[in-house]
Amino acid sequence: MNTGKNVNEKVLKKFLSLIDKGMDIDACLSKFPGEYSYLKEYAETIKSLDNLKDIVADKDFEEKSLKDIYLRARTEDIEDSKKISPKHVLLAGLRPAYLKPLIAFLVVLVLIGFSFTGTLYASGDSLPGDILYPVKRTSENIQVAFTPYKYEKNLYLKILEERLSEADMILSRADFKDTDAAESLLGDIDNTYRICRERKYLGADEGEQLQNQITAVKDRLRNRYGIQKSGIDSLSDDASGNEQDTDTNSKSDNQDNGQNEPQLNGNNKTENKNQPDAGEQNQTGNQNQYGR
């Protein structure tokens, strides 16, 4: 019984697959003469389904429906355009495919900008020996590099003031024990002052006042950290310095300064100690400190 059912199912599947292949129903029936009576009812059912193809929509309704579609679309467009603000129109021009990476890029840019600005701001109060101090010095070097010549005077004076205030802060802090940093600062003050003097950025009164201030600060630093006075520094020969040729490009002047003054920053200081031709080294150091 079960086997007979299975056989019938197989025949039916074959019959249906022939119809699926596009064969005529009657032609398919004729292929199975033994199962004609069994398949005939299926064939009738399929034929009756085929008759459903005669169902048609009213032609007038078809036309009316088409007009309705256009009308609805137009109404929706008008409603949509009312909702759209100028801001939306602007954004609509940017396809989402381009908008997303653009927004991501801008966000990253803003984050980098904020972190950079934050680091710069934080480095503003740093002292020699601090982690952020090199950032502060680098930003100063960049400022010097991009400042037009006629505005350099103010910038150098500002840098000199900054160095002096750093020295004051070091002196006011009892816990500051970094002798190397203090020595480096001394060199920086000396060098910046020398540049200001050579380029005649200081007036007579101003120069004298500043010179006294620098001498006081340097003495206090030397006393506190036991830094040896290194021969003739830029202030000790000041009397003659005002009279001497202040040509910044004069090699002899630079060599002289280089031999006698302490190095300009911590990095060059060691080199100065180790190398006999300190004058030449110092000359390079002078030129490199602010990149000019």
Binding site: L12, K13, L16, D20, E41, Y42, E44, T45, I46, S48, L49, D50, N51, L52, K53, D54, I55, V56, A57, F61, E62, S65, L66, D68, I69, Y70, R72, A73, E76
Partner: protein, 201 residues
């Protein structure tokens, strides 16, 4: 309209947005979609409204859709099928709400006999639905077939209509009903066997 012509119409409509290209597609598919919806809804008025909705959706979204002729056919029928499902859901909810209201009203009345009869009807789920044949236009008369189709599962009914009335291949049907081709063939086989049994009873 063959596949090439259909693809050209789709391409041109996307390119130019000219309604004449849409109209070609509309006229080719309108009869088919109306027939498919009507056989599933059994109400010519509702079928007309749903068919109109189908083509409105096609008109609105065709420009953005990435379709070839095969996937376009499946897409249009799928829209129709989804709207049919939505309609059936709404109808079922409406009937449920109606029967609940009816039930509450009857409970409020003092007529105990009437109350019992409503209770029985609720338990039996007998809501006096119209048979499919009652809705159809007078020119089509095959109540046995329609009654038989009505007794099939929704999916079985749709597969039979899509295969034997709409003459769609199994690949397209499987896309429309979200089943594999093999599953679609199995559904068709069971459906035709069941329909034959129902019609010969």
């Amino acid at each position: 309209m063959n596949d090439k012509e259909l693809e050209l119409c789709i391409k041109n409509f996307k390119k130019t947005g000219n309604n004449s290209h849409f109209e070609k597609i509309y006229r080719f598919f309108f009869k088919k979609i109306y027939r498919f919806v009507l056989l599933n809804i059994s109400d010519s008025q509702v079928a007309g409204s749903i068919t109109s909705d189908v083509f409105f959706n096609v008109y609105r979204h065709l420009a953005k859709a990435r379709l070839n002729s095969g996937s376009f056919r499946a897409w249009v029928y799928k829209i129709a099928r989804n709207l049919i499902i939505d309609y059936h859901r709404k109808e079922a909810k409406h009937k449920q709400d109606q029967s609940l209201e009816q039930y509450i009203e009857t409970r409020q009345s003092d007529d105990l006999n009437e109350l019992e009869s409503v209770d029985k009807s609720l338990i039996a789920g007998d809501f006096k639905e119209k048979s499919a044949g009652e809705y159809f236009d007078s020119e089509f008369r095959d109540p046995e077939l329609l009654a038989g189709l009505d007794k099939l599962d929704e999916l079985q009914k749709q597969v039979l209509i899509l295969r034997f009335v709409e003459d769609l291949d199994y690949k397209t049907i499987s896309r429309i009903i979200d089943k594999s081709e093999l599953a679609t063939r199995a559904i068709k086989f069971r459906a035709i066997s069941k329909l034959k049994e129902l019609m010969t009873k």
